[in-house]
């Protein structure tokens, strides 16, 4: 006489499906952030009377080594205008924000060609800055 083995079934517990779905969603959201420039080392300049910036279409950065980056990738200032024109493409006016993150110690020779390139590409320039600390003893 043959004894039948008990079937062993291994299933993913269904109560974990919500957690798994949520984690996958966040994973893909982070992957989709193609404009990630968190690896760039820079310190923002300080200025008073600044406002919240709307969402950018592209981000141009100048780091502590005065290298230029477009959306986290190093680029020569000479090629920036053409690359930005491609990124902005047919984006309607008012949505063509280009964030400019310039290291506070940069000189005109570093940032002026970049500003000219953003202007040439028809981008709406937004300087990313830090609010100046208000002196409490006035």
């Amino acid at each position: 006489m043959k004894l039948q083995r008990r079937k062993l079934t291994a299933s993913v517990p269904s109560f974990a499906m919500g957690d798994i779905g949520f984690l996958l969603l966040i994973f893909f959201v982070i992957l989709a952030r193609s404009q990630d420039d968190s690896h760039i080392q820079w310190q923002p300049a300080k200025l008073d009377d600044i406002e919240m910036a709307a969402a950018p279409r592209a981000t141009v950065s100048i780091d502590t080594g005065y290298k230029t980056y477009l959306d986290g990738k190093e680029i020569s200032p000479d090629n920036l205008a053409a690359a930005l024109t491609d990124v902005l493409a047919d984006t309607p006016a008012g949505e063509r924000n280009v964030f400019l993150k310039v290291h506070r110690e940069a000189k005109a020779t570093h940032f002026e060609p970049v500003i000219a390139a953003i202007s040439e590409a028809g981008g709406d320039l937004v300087h990313i800055l830090e609010p100046e600390e208000q002196n409490s003893q006035k």
């Binding site: 109560f15 966040i26 406002e51 506070r104 005109a108 020779t109 002026e112 300087h127």
Partner: protein
């Protein structure tokens, strides 16, 4: 004789607590990464490759160096420059006359340049950059 009732409290399964903690960590990380940024928007006229033929004598000219700001030949500090540029631009009625040509020395620091451009912007001027261009001329 009294019968003891079964406990009605239902604890969340302990095996899910690590999932919950991990999800919360990711949630707060994402929240921290997408915090809004602050800045100053600046309207720049689109750069033309061809030189426009226009009467530039009417435009205000600002030269910036690391130590001074010069408006139409007069050296000023930032405070006085802000007042003077506002007064000068008040006189201009046509938009074309509100163009302010800014020429910076190569070693002008970014914070000084920002202060000048903010003053021009707040006075209602249209900032235009005058860049130095390099040309290579071959002499035969």
């Amino acid at each position: 004789m009294k019968l003891n009732r079964g406990k009605m409290l239902v604890d969340p399964p302990a095996c899910a607590s690590s999932d919950i903690a991990f999800t919360l960590i990711i949630f707060f990380l994402v929240c921290a990464a997408v915090q809004p940024e602050t800045g100053m928007s600046q309207a720049l006229p689109k750069t033309e490759s061809q030189t426009e033929k226009r009467d530039q004598s009417q435009n205000l000219e600002v030269s910036i160096t690391p130590s001074s700001i010069v408006l139409n030949g007069s050296p000023l500090n930032l405070e006085n420059f802000t007042k003077r540029i506002a007064a000068e631009l008040k006189k201009k009625t046509r938009e074309a006359d509100r163009i302010v040509v800014v020429k910076s020395a190569p070693d002008t620091p970014y914070p000084i340049w920002l202060g000048v451009s903010q003053a021009i912007d707040q006075a209602g001027g249209i900032l235009t950059l005058e860049l130095e261009t390099e040309k290579t001329i071959t002499v035969e």
